[in-house]
Assembly symmetry: C2
DNA sequence: GGAAACTTAAATAACGTTACCCATCCAGAT
DNA sequence: ATCTGGATGGGTAACGTTATTTAAGTTTCC
């Protein structure tokens, strides 16, 4: 007889009857609650061991916690997000919580659906990289669940924020290029259908900082921005557009490494070389940037630290903290071979870190 | 007064009283169950609309389904996994199910913990890329939850398998290199602490196929394998080792694109060039491989199709199918500029697809 | 020696949903 | 008029866990 086939899961009452104690007693032991004698504790623990019992998060959820935290990322193609997840996972390792990732997407609708899905599953808290939602929407979520928002700069009384100091990072890049002697420095930025105030979004901050620093150095007339996307194709398209202009820029600051990789390809396709004809710099310092055949100058923001911080702040909120915290990470510039003085002076590219 | 602050969620009984009907009736409408009049349906639906009610997956879970499916991936740094997730997400888009991702990791213990976490959350089904677990362990999981295993070749009566025909793919690469005239073709493979039978794991299949094809072409003496890891660092280390041998190989088949990227860097570091001094080929055809400054010859396996297939098979299993299905994807070779005849005959690299 | 004060264990009532069963209603057949 | 039967709506008992309350011992102290 082939019944449904799946065997019934061991429950708390199986443990209770096996140990010949009450269900309550078992629950107390699981939760490390007070009022349980050492003898009882041992008895229950061996029963749990023998039966291989693990509590069912769903049932616990009905009474409060699911010991689950939800991480919403727009997508997983950006390796920088992997650093965040690793940092978070490492932090949660010696807690009872488990992190689950859900993919947002390119539209507000999908992003919203993803966050709703987390709330509907009764996660204990939410960490999200949500570039598309309005602040009001984020606060709405935060009123329902403890929330930490990553990579957005706005503060809110209802959620914690963890972000990179993108202004400092962008400034490092642009100043570095200026110090090398570049004047025609172009920038590739990102655009989406966000409802957030522009000033809260990292790509706008990077772009605005680029403009500011250019102006501060008397280069207002040289400002050239291509608006596309922070991915390979976007970087490729943006670079082609910028390099098609006359006079041609001598340096391109791509707002993200993914776009910088596309930029490198575009430069190559146009028969130019890096850094002799064009210097290229990115942002994020993804692993690939360090490979010697790419050797991309980039801004390092410590994703693992951000993930860890987000985890810590979220658990604090779950434990009851109601005041808002903002945590900002200071980036550093990693100079590699893709940037050099303009005009073809080759020279062996060296690697150095500036803070 | 600052109470706990979070507002109570709308429940099914709120909807019921608002619509002045029974809880049962609301439940029926939600589930599209029979025995509900059109009038009732409308009434309830407007009440749901007005209150913004969404069912709580956790509570539904206690009675059966959570409408959640769990995807376990070893990590998210491999962009190929992003394709799988995208395919799966696309497939689930017009179902009631939501996919959540949990990260496995580099050790069996972590991998096991991740899968347990999914089971403990009562997901309705599990899709996993689990290279470390033993087959017995996978079957144990499959007995508890509907399961689809990705990227492993073994069949099982208890779960479905979705995998790339790695033998065909590896054969395409090695034959391509041989046809170009290469004889000293080396391979970089991967090693981990898996408990799976070697023959079930894709990296072993790729390596074994490499050896077989070499032998079949009278190149048994030229077989050279470096054992490291399928990531940038692994590819770099493996390539350095292989290129240090004398005589030096004229072509390297890295078992994965991530490793191939490291290989490209190693070749560059040793002052050699691709494809003049060394041809390099990878596997996975990640987006980066197409960039013109990388232009890596690679084997394309359609991750989106695999993700979609996995989703479809899993839902079938959830609906009750008990017989096992194996779904294999046929790969194709994408020839790019990183492979050319040995001996420095440059020539404009062309792009072509062979099936 | 007995009340007060603890400590320990168990009984019980939720949490939000669904599946099963029963009651009612009305149409059509006798 | 009575009966049968299908359609519709609602009552209720679970699902596995935890928090609160209650009961039963066991000390402690005058």
């Amino acid at each position: 007889m082939v019944t449904s086939g799946r065997r019934r899961r061991v429950t708390i009452s199986d443990v209770a009857s096996h140990a010949q104690v009450s269900v309550t007693a078992v629950s107390k032991v699981i939760r490390n609650a007070t009022g349980v004698s050492p003898a009882m504790r041992d008895r229950v623990k061996t029963a749990i061991e023998e039966l291989g019992y693990r509590p069912q998060a769903v049932a616990r959820g009905m009474r409060g916690r699911t010991f689950t935290i939800g991480l919403m990322l727009p997508h997983i193609r950006n390796p920088f997000f992997a650093d965040i997840l690793d940092g978070l996972t490492a932090y949660l390792e010696n807690t009872d919580y488990q992190a689950f990732m859900i993919q947002g997407g390119a539209t507000r609708k999908v992003e919203r659906r993803a966050v709703d899905a987390l709330v509907d599953r009764q996660v204990d808290g939410i960490i999200m990289v949500a570039p598309l939602a309005s602040k009001a929407r984020l606060e709405e979520v935060a009123k329902e669940k403890p929330t930490v928002v990553l990579a957005r700069h706005e503060g809110s009384a209802f959620y914690d924020s963890v972000y990179d100091d993108d202004e400092a990072g962008a400034e490092l890049v642009v100043k570095h290029l200026i110090e090398l002697g570049h004047r025609r420095i172009a920038h590739i930025t990102h655009q989406d259908d966000s409802q957030a105030p522009p000033a809260d979004l990292l790509h706008n901050i990077r772009a605005a900082t680029y403009e500011r620093v250019m102006r501060e150095h008397g280069l207002a007339d040289e400002i050239a921005i291509a608006t596309s996307f922070y991915n390979e194709q976007g970087g490729y398209d943006g670079a082609r557009e910028l390099l098609g202009r006359s006079p041609r820029p001598t340096a391109i600051f791509a707002g993200a490494d993914q776009a910088a990789l596309g930029t490198l390809a575009a430069v190559h396709d146009m028969g130019l070389s890096v850094p002799q004809d064009v210097s290229v710099a990115g942002y994020d310092n993804i692993h690939l940037a360090a490979l010697s055949n790419i050797t991309l100058t980039s801004v390092d923001q410590d994703g693992a630290v951000m993930g860890r911080a987000a985890g810590k702040l979220l658990l604090e909120r779950i434990e009851g903290r109601m005041t808002a915290v903002r945590f900002s990470v200071t980036p550093s510039l990693v100079v590699r071979g893709s940037t050099a003085p303009p005009g073809g002076s080759a020279g062996a590219p060296s690697t150095a870190v500036t803070r």
